[in-house]
Symmetry: C2
């Protein structure tokens, strides 16, 4: 009963997108295996230098002939006063001390926003390398960028956490839009009223049908989907396909730290929480000592990406020591359904299970 525009447009077999998780999770093997299995692999390139992006794109092309995609972060003006950086450092220095890291006191905002400087170069790489699909988080690109990408026949996917954001994505010319429910792990991908997005996040069961009623481009469901049940449910709610992060994160091919994978495989559904203490942007992760210690400071921490740069060394050192207490252990609310399996078996099982509901995939 579905007239699936999404698979036709993306030239893939199954409407299953591997979420573009940034920070080394989306290895070339993860991306290529997803595409080889009939889904859409995505590079989480938000934090990547252009040269690094190009290298990974080339590597993936050697591993698959199927379409794959890449995700970028939309830059926006940073609101981070010297005072907020000072206060963040005051809160972070005791944690740095625990990890035997030196205290930090650099207050120059410019030093913290590297990730925002390279956006236009990233876009250039996407076009030069002819990556067939490009998705965006934290905003919508400018008219000029959209026009140029479209001229290169690149399919564009936006991200929305509210109905209005979905409508804005369609108006701007996105070919489809990911509808991200409150269940989703990692960063909120939307772009409205950040101060509220932790408390006002909308569950996918509510958000998806309401968004679908207001757009005509394909909707891709995201948040809490882990298996054929969530896949079939998303199609009933009006999505044409799904995007899954946590389900791919614990796969064999994912580059997530083993401590991160193990943490997800061992928690219950109520052990994640929204925090902006890691990056300055609200994101859902497993409650750990870092989140708890920083909770009282959430209100005045500097914006993304300043806070992200401030916590970088802490996260890196903790990871090197296999210490989950100070790592950003992003996870959605369906961790009990996570499995350590190959990408191939994840996708095959999803399709088999979803087909049992008599829904045309």
């Amino acid at each position: 009963m579905l007239n699936n525009e999404m698979t036709g447009c993306l030239k893939i077999e199954y409407p299953i997108i591997q979420a573009p998780m940034a920070g080394g999770i989306t290895t070339s093997a993860l991306v290529a295996e997803t595409s080889n299995a009939g889904g859409l692999g995505m590079i989480g390139a938000g934090y990547m230098a252009p040269a690094q992006m190009r290298e990974q794109i080339k590597e993936i092309k050697r591993l698959t002939t199927k379409p794959f995609g890449i995700n970028l972060f939309i830059p926006k003006p940073v609101q981070a006063s010297k005072n907020s950086i000072k206060a963040a450092n005051q809160a972070l220095n005791p944690i740095r001390q625990k990890l035997q890291l030196p205290p930090q006191d650099n207050l120059d905002v410019a030093d913290y926003i590297e990730v925002f400087k390279t956006f236009m170069e990233q876009i250039k790489v996407v076009m030069e390398e002819k990556v067939p699909i490009c998705s965006f988080a934290f905003g919508i690109p400018s008219k000029e960028v959209i026009a140029e990408l479209k001229q290169h026949n690149i399919i564009l996917i936006g991200t929305a956490t509210t109905v209005n954001e979905a409508v804005e994505n369609e108006k701007a010319g996105m070919d489809m839009v990911v509808i991200q429910g409150s269940e989703a792990g990692g960063h909120r991908g939307g772009f409205h009223k950040q101060e509220q997005e932790n408390v006002d996040s909308i569950g996918l069961m509510s958000l998806l049908p309401q968004a679908v009623d207001h757009i005509s481009i394909p909707a891709v469901a995201a948040g809490g989907i882990m298996d054929g049940r969530g896949f079939a449910a998303s199609l009933c709610l009006g999505a044409q396909g799904v995007q899954m992060g946590t389900a791919f994160l614990t796969c064999t091919e994912s580059g997530a730290h083993k401590v991160h994978k193990e943490a997800i495989l061992n928690i219950a559904e109520d052990q994640t929480v929204f925090t902006r203490a890691f990056s300055g942007k609200w994101a859902r992760g497993i409650k750990n000592p870092f989140i708890l210690e920083m909770q009282e400071h959430e209100g005045y921490l500097p914006d993304f990406p300043v806070q992200n740069t401030l916590t970088q060394e802490i996260r890196k050192t903790a990871a090197a020591e296999n210490n989950p207490d100070f790592m950003s252990l992003w996870s959605g609310q369906s961790a009990r359904l996570a499995k350590n399996q190959t990408v191939k078996s994840l996708i095959e099982n999803m399709v088999t299970e979803a087909k049992q509901f008599n829904i045309n995939i």
Copy 2:
């Protein structure tokens, strides 16, 4: 493909429960029309005096020969210091003044917990009147009460907001359990760690399949479901049926205040929020001046039902004046899907729409 134990057990045609909304919303017409249309009508009797309950039960029996149910609140020890009552009154008195109500200063906890005193009498009425189905919010009845109700062949339905609560409901002998996602309007029906239940609420897309994996009694999906899409999606996720509040609240037969109905029919998906300022218990309602003014006081307000009694006159006066600013405008996150329609057309449309997904209802 569904072997629907739920409809068999409840002796109803469609696995659609009208949520037992307390406070006058579940009129006899609403309950009886739901049952007459093939669903299960429920009296929200949490705040009702036993005599009032008996009267409504008798009235409903005159309006339908079909099964219907009733919902009760499980009493538990109240934590409400004189200091917290004093602080609540300090926060509420300026609002009372706006409504030309006298300030309050009664600090005697005992005067505020009427609703907890009558539970055993309420149970007695349920048995004497042979109400076929009884559901519970805020906890699980004692072994003795469960045994007695079962001896009277009354079908018991629990409420869970986490997987563990669902498991506890099954262990205690509930015949089925409502799985309430974060999208749901009104009170959180669960019973664990109240201090966290606003921030840790789990979206239905995540909660439902995880709960279903851990119980063998039928699961009833609740939270954000408004139409055949949510109905079909819930069945895909493993529920045997659905319970809907907001969708019934705006129906013609509902006793909700017209200002309440109009508010729901006019808001977007992101205009509700969790608050405990009305009742002392976390609940989702439309953001209004009362919620915003009380936000800073949430931390130290007395427990349910003390805070509920404290705000009673404010809510009542605001309602009498058609003033939405100080009423508890409970609503789920799917308000954009709410319609002013009859119960019969709500249920018929849901069933017709859900059947289009080729899922056996």
